[in-house]
């Protein structure tokens, strides 16, 4: 039996894995919400009538999309305190994740807005809706419907990337796994179990988003 895997520790570990998973879920839910809001603002900024705003959004998107998330996280957590901005690990993690997700989200939402036929906007204007209502009631819902699968994928990717926030000692799933394997000396078994938990989470998140999406976003639309 010398070579077989040992899972006898699992019974005591379930609680720790559960708390870790709960933190991962919390991070993702908060990030998905803030990130989507910021993505919509970013997509609006990309087509702003002020060139300055367009340029800033473009620079932000390129900067984030062309650097590793882990480097962004370290910059925010270790680098910003020298400017006097000190963040606790959870806030730093949520900030880094939101900034990262929104950079991809901006491109996705912008593509969705561009895909809504101009006739929809014109028709809404012809009905006398104010510009803000035209956007919120007519254009945005249709755009979100188009981009929903892409946005879901991006949120799942963000969930998987959140594993690295264990590096700034946020007590999420990977952090608990690190603790567990240090205690049991069964690194492979521990990470195998936690990997399966992540796999389950990503499948569940995808299903949930699509179930929720078809209920709230896809229904009652023109």
């Amino acid at each position: 039996m010398g070579n077989s895997l040992d899972f006898s520790w699992l019974g005591d570990a379930i609680k720790l894995i559960g708390t870790g998973a709960a933190m991962t879920i919390l991070l993702v839910v908060v990030t998905a919400f803030l990130g989507t809001l910021l993505s919509i603002l970013g997509a609006l900024g990309r087509t702003s009538r002020y060139p300055m705003i367009r340029r800033i959004v473009k620079a932000y998107v390129e900067l984030i999309r062309n650097t590793p998330f882990l480097a962004q996280l370290f910059f925010i957590f270790f680098g910003l305190p020298s400017l006097g901005i000190r963040l606790n690990p959870i806030v730093a993690a949520i900030l880094a994740m939101t900034i990262n997700l929104a950079a991809y989200g901006t491109e996705i939402v912008a593509a969705g807005l561009a895909a809504v036929p101009t006739g929809q906007r014109e028709a809404a204007q012809a009905l006398g809706l104010r510009p803000r209502l035209v956007f919120v009631k007519i254009v945005l819902p249709q755009a979100l419907k188009i981009i929903f699968p892409a946005l879901t994928s991006q949120i799942v990717i963000m969930m998987l990337e959140s594993a690295v926030v264990s590096q700034i000692s946020v007590r999420e799933l990977t952090y608990e796994a690190d603790l567990l394997q240090a205690r049991t000396f069964l690194a492979f078994e521990t990470y195998l179990v936690v990997t399966l938990v992540y796999l389950g989470l990503s499948v569940a998140l995808r299903r949930l988003m699509f179930a929720g999406g078809s209920k709230f976003i896809f229904s009652g639309q023109p």
Partner: protein
């Protein structure tokens, strides 16, 4: 010892060589392995297709960090002595093979059915239909997302710092510990990543504009 800005930059640039090397090796290895996975993924036998689908799903549905840990701690259980570099190459290669296979499958599916049939009517076997007729077209169609994935791969190498491979980000950590200038060190580190990735992103965008998808 006093670190000047130039000392910091020079050391980071030297470390960036490892980031580049790891990216290239994983991309090449992942390309070869990915071609093999692609063959399974579009095979005529359902169980081979299913196996390839599960392989791809496993890599796309779990964090790369976990994949790194499993290779780093798993291979020694099988009796291999393993260093951070080996673990990094093995896991990034597997990771790349799954993603590239899926990207190229998209390319294969974009090639019109008639191309297969025309190749078959010329008397070519399935493998030669693929090699001579379908794959060249599929890979041309998939050029832009392939380069896009290379960008993702370069960024992913940063995770190997966690298992102790001395690439750009791990060197940034070390220099930061010596200089206590996190803003400068991580800023410069991120800038180097940007200089590696941005040209590739632009190239992918150019390819995207010039790619014609056959109808």
């Amino acid at each position: 010892m006093e670190f000047t800005l130039w000392d910091i930059l020079r050391n980071l640039l030297l470390a960036a060589r490892w980031t580049v090397l790891l990216s290239l090796v994983a991309f090449a290895g992942g390309g070869i392995a990915g071609l093999f996975v692609l063959l399974l993924r579009i095979s005529k036998r359902p169980w081979l297709r299913r196996a390839a689908e599960m392989y791809i799903g496993a890599f796309q549905g779990t964090p790369l960090l976990m994949q790194l840990f499993l290779v780093f701690f798993g291979l020694p259980l099988l009796g291999f002595r393993i260093e951070a570099w080996t673990a990094a190459v093995v896991s990034l290669t597997l990771f790349a093979s799954a993603f590239l296979a899926e990207i190229w499958r998209g390319g294969v599916e974009a090639v019109p059915r008639g191309q297969w049939e025309a190749a078959a009517s010329l008397g070519l076997h399935r493998i030669r239909q693929l090699r001579l007729v379908v794959l060249p077209q599929a890979l041309t169609i998939a050029r832009a997302p392939t380069v896009g994935f290379l960008v993702q791969l370069v960024k992913s190498t940063a995770l190997t710092s966690i298992i102790g491979f001395d690439e750009l980000l791990r060197t940034s950590n070390a220099i930061n510990n010596a200089t206590f200038q996190p803003f400068t060190v991580y800023g410069l580190g991120a800038l180097i990543y940007f200089c590696l990735c941005f040209p590739l992103t632009q190239y992918a965008r150019m390819l995207e504009r010039s790619t014609v998808i056959p109808k």
